[in-house]
Symmetry: C2
Subunit: 200 residues, 2 copies
DNA sequence: AGAGTAACCGAACGATCGGTCGGGACAAGG
DNA sequence: CCTTGTCCCGACCGATCGTTCGGTTACTCT
């Protein structure tokens, strides 16, 4: 009795269509005409549901950011030895990134042309900083290598994780979130070289 | 007697300005008006040097692709044990990426809206494939871990390397190409964990 | 000095941009 | 029945898009 009035668009369902087109064509490369064709309604009808193009972008990146910041509030990310918390966050980042793939994809591609985009970039930097502090704490414990700058390592690991949006596609038979998260964690913490070879 | 006629724009000098603006605003987010302001000449004057906006994009990604494919022709990338050739290619990729930073940055951001962009994506896939084969050969020799899929590892390592364009800025006092290349190679091959700890 | 030309400009082109407007179709509630 | 409000539409807005055009500088060469 609460929902189910008609089978038309809501701001949320319209958003999922819009985000998909944004990711295919790029935000700037997507016109409202493109969106209307993809949604199957007229251009002006879109404005019945949302205020405009930029609101769609804001809703999308907000959803992605909520998912990422949510990780830091989880218990395993807050308590325990920093290196363990770090590994947990890395795994969860992969899982959230895959669970909210189109939204995180869009977030990772904003350039900063509008106020919304600049706000998204700022929040992204804040998240990166929080994880960097975790890595720094793990380094202080002597649990991760210190011969490479913490700042640099953070960026490289983030780069590896974020690059997942460039190729992961949830087409049925593919690997699931857990498998990818395991691979990323193993590669990031253990390295490319055959396990047991040490460094020689 | 060959060069040095006037101190005006050439297609190359104009390209360097254009690529910088493309990277700041995104290709689709950049208008010819933006380019003319950045270059300090009128919009119509740009067309005296190049055929149009898309030619600037084509020249830029061509330069990036030439740099990357050039690596595969170098001797250290062609002869020797695959794992050694792989590490050489990884290091050189970082160096080329930094040496041609704005051009590679643009290459890594094309989405496929035009023929030029689709051609760039195709050539990128070709390069990725060539490196993936090298990794596969190293795995066959038992020199790199085989518990993670070769295809996945390739993508993650590429992701780590390519992410450099998102943060590296050549502002004088920063790290140089060699330092970054060393860090990437060490992290990719040795992993995050403190050297000597093994996997425990 | 005069010819030739590379470099540049303002004005304008048709097309498309994001967004607005008045109104029509249709279901729910009386 | 008629009203109310949701959902949607075609037509249109001023602005901006990439590009073209005719014409004016300003430099080089003879």
């Amino acid at each position: 009795m609460t929902t189910a009035k008609r089978d038309t668009y809501t701001p949320e369902t319209l958003l999922s269509v819009a985000v998909q087109v944004f990711n295919e064509r790029g935000y700037d490369g997507t016109s409202m005409e493109h969106l209307s064709r993809a949604a199957g309604i007229s251009k002006s009808s879109i404005y019945h549901h949302v205020a405009g193009k930029e609101e769609l972008l804001r809703r999308a990146v907000s959803r992605a950011l909520d998912g990422l910041f949510g990780i830091l509030d989880e218990e395993d990310a807050r308590v325990g030895r920093p290196v363990g918390r770090l590994e947990y966050v890395v795994r969860r980042m992969v899982e959230v990134l895959i669970a909210e793939l189109p939204y995180v994809t869009l977030l990772l591609r904003v350039r900063g042309n509008t106020d919304t985009e600049r706000w998204a970039l700022e929040r992204r930097r804040e998240f990166d900083h929080r994880v960097a502090e975790l890595l720094k704490a793990a380094a202080a414990d002597g649990d991760v290598r210190e011969d490479i700058e913490v700042r640099l390592v953070t960026r490289l690991v983030f780069g590896m994780i974020n690059s997942i949006v460039e190729w992961y596609r949830p087409d049925g038979r593919g690997m699931d979130e857990r498998e990818v998260a395991d691979a990323v964690a193993q590669l990031a913490f253990g390295g490319l070289r055959r396990a047991g070879d040490g460094r020689g």
